[in-house]
Symmetry: C2
Subunit: 194 residues, 2 copies
Amino acid sequence: MHPLIQHIQKITGSREIDEENVLSFFDSRHFRKKDLLQEQGVLCNAYFFVVKGCLRLFYTDENGIEQTLQLALENWWMTDLDAFRSGRRTMYAIQALEDTEVLVLTAKNYNLLPEEIPLTEKYFRLVYERAYSATLHRVRMISRMPKNEFYELFESKYPEFIQRIPQKILASFLGFTPEYLSELRKKRVENKEV
Amino acid sequence: MHPLIQHIQKITGSREIDEENVLSFFDSRHFRKKDLLQEQGVLCNAYFFVVKGCLRLFYTDENGIEQTLQLALENWWMTDLDAFRSGRRTMYAIQALEDTEVLVLTAKNYNLLPEEIPLTEKYFRLVYERAYSATLHRVRMISRMPKNEFYELFESKYPEFIQRIPQKILASFLGFTPEYLSELRKKRVENKEV
């Protein structure tokens, strides 16, 4: 069974789903490590479901520094939701951090899908419910916690990110300098060894 | 027509909605300014839709300082979504900042509602889609923008918050000290007068 179908079953708790019909709304694409799935400034017409691999969403700021705002591993969705919903140009680029396989949903099919397959309406409601709830938690962590506590919590909650994401990109995602993250990791390893 | 029904029609674009049936899932409650709708540490079983007035979600930190994480005006939803979904105790209190009228949806009815009235599944999917997208924008503002730019953008996007929310609570929500916010507002008024 395709990972997307497994994910829909897991999230909705329903097994009544026509695999072939659902997958007919998507295109499958492969990207190599470092490929751009979407460039900054283009019309945003694609919503990506990560089948295998890892993506990041980022922008290049006025100083030429790449700022990573989101990461996505297997079973995560990624797009510039604001631009995707409105059909506007996106302020963000999306890049593969590993060799990555995705399903692509166009804006047109995103609107058709819940009409044709009502279970996907429930699925997206629950996916957003989780994502919204997690992002609020992220706001609290970013804005109220000492950086070392924030990192500890992040490490315990998302160990895969720590292992798979290059240090420089992870630092940007966390809002740290690469030097600060490197120092923090060194200290944590030393503490564990004691 | 009840404001909730108007909101469902506006968000979903559908007029086919049985007002009486939808409202039968909710209780109407009134709170006075400063009343707590929910205390920190209790089981979270209520989702609030603001009909009239204003709410905030906050916690008291280890130094006894109240930290405001969310605000809700008319047509906004508010709960500790994580605790509400899981039936756990909430880490947050919810307080009325003005005399406030809300509709209350229990967790049980939140689960029943989309089964009985499928249009509300679409409604909540779209409400979360917007909220998630706005919260990502907030993450970017908090973590990447100079504070004065962040405040300018916030002021232009949410003028009602600036007018209706007490300065101390607004400062906490923005992650500023009250003194810094006060200075920022004074400067902006002076600049406008020039």
